[in-house]
Symmetry: C2
Subunit: 194 residues, 2 copies
């Protein structure tokens, strides 16, 4: 009867080790060491090394999406929801640097992020974004002819790239401070007002 505790212990250790060494050069023995257990024990809780990675981001991204969903549900209109979503996206990553490193850099290994095992979770997030945009179109705060799919991808891509740049840089500036600038850009555009 594997302790549910140890599962979490291994996941947390894996986040730290993957952040430090990268997925490929991380050895299973390293994760075990970081978790304070023997390497064989890992295999009582996970099938393979890849399974650790897959499970880790399913759980983390699943939690991420749930947090965002809950937060925006409390906002009054699409505009507030959009701004809140952007801010939260950044806050969550900023809060946990090791997790941010893993999500922005390591999880993109091969197919795993957008294809493969966590595509469902990522798809959920896309749906959350799309639903906010649709609500805004329906209520008239966004352009009635907004191409929602395109806008969803563009917004996600923009946030994701800002997060990646922040991780790869020294993380000197506050990521969350960029949230409002990004929100303004999307809402108002780059063009000068006539």
């Amino acid at each position: 009867m594997p302790e549910p505790d140890k599962h979490q212990q291994i996941i947390d250790a894996a986040v730290r080790v993957f952040a430090r060494r990268g997925y490929h050069s991380a050895r299973v023995a390293d994760i075990a060491h970081e978790a304070g257990i023997a390497s064989g024990t890992i295999y009582l809780y996970f099938e393979t090394k890849g399974d650790i990675l897959v499970t880790l981001f399913r759980e983390k991204i699943g939690g991420f999406v749930a947090d965002v969903r809950k937060a925006i549900a409390g906002e009054p209109d699409a505009l507030a929801k959009l701004r809140r979503l952007i801010r939260l996206h950044f806050q969550i990553l900023e809060r946990d640097p090791a997790l941010a490193e893993v999500i922005q850099v390591e999880l993109r290994q091969g197919q795993k992020f957008f294809r493969g095992a966590s595509s469902a979770e990522v798809g959920d997030y896309f749906n959350v974004i799309a639903s906010v945009l649709e609500e805004g179109v329906a209520s008239g705060v966004f352009r009635h002819d907004l191409p929602v799919k395109t806008a969803t991808r563009a917004l996600f891509g923009a946030m994701d790239q800002m997060a990646t740049s922040w991780v790869l840089g020294k993380r000197t500036y506050k990521l969350a401070d960029a949230a409002d600038a990004l929100g303004d850009m999307f809402l108002l555009g780059l063009a000068a007002k006539p």
Copy 2:
């Protein structure tokens, strides 16, 4: 005296094999077979398997940036340059599906794309985008208070995500068709006109 020809032959074979199998499950022997040579011959032209990947995207991305630079130089103002850049970004990827697969999916392995060996080339591309935005700010077609760095990242991220979505989907729709929609979004924003 290695033939300069064979270098290219190997790179081209590698693009096809990486696109098909993914970098990790691609064997050096597969690339050799695809190129019609023996596996040992690869090592007369490249140090390691990783070197093939690194060289491949240095050359490809370098060419990509050069193409974009040249194309926008011919455009009259920042607005036209921006639209041209977006269109070209998509056209180049659409023209070569195997290369698109490799750039969007395989090259993100670990650190290689934004960190590591090709960061200089990617940095060049960021500079091209930023210079267009700066020109637009200076000439007054873009908001004078536009945060150029943020906008550069956001625009790159948006294009990159659209490309990734297109690669992961069945590539059914025309990627280039989304270019104008994306341009409009960035220039005008999501918000409804008052």
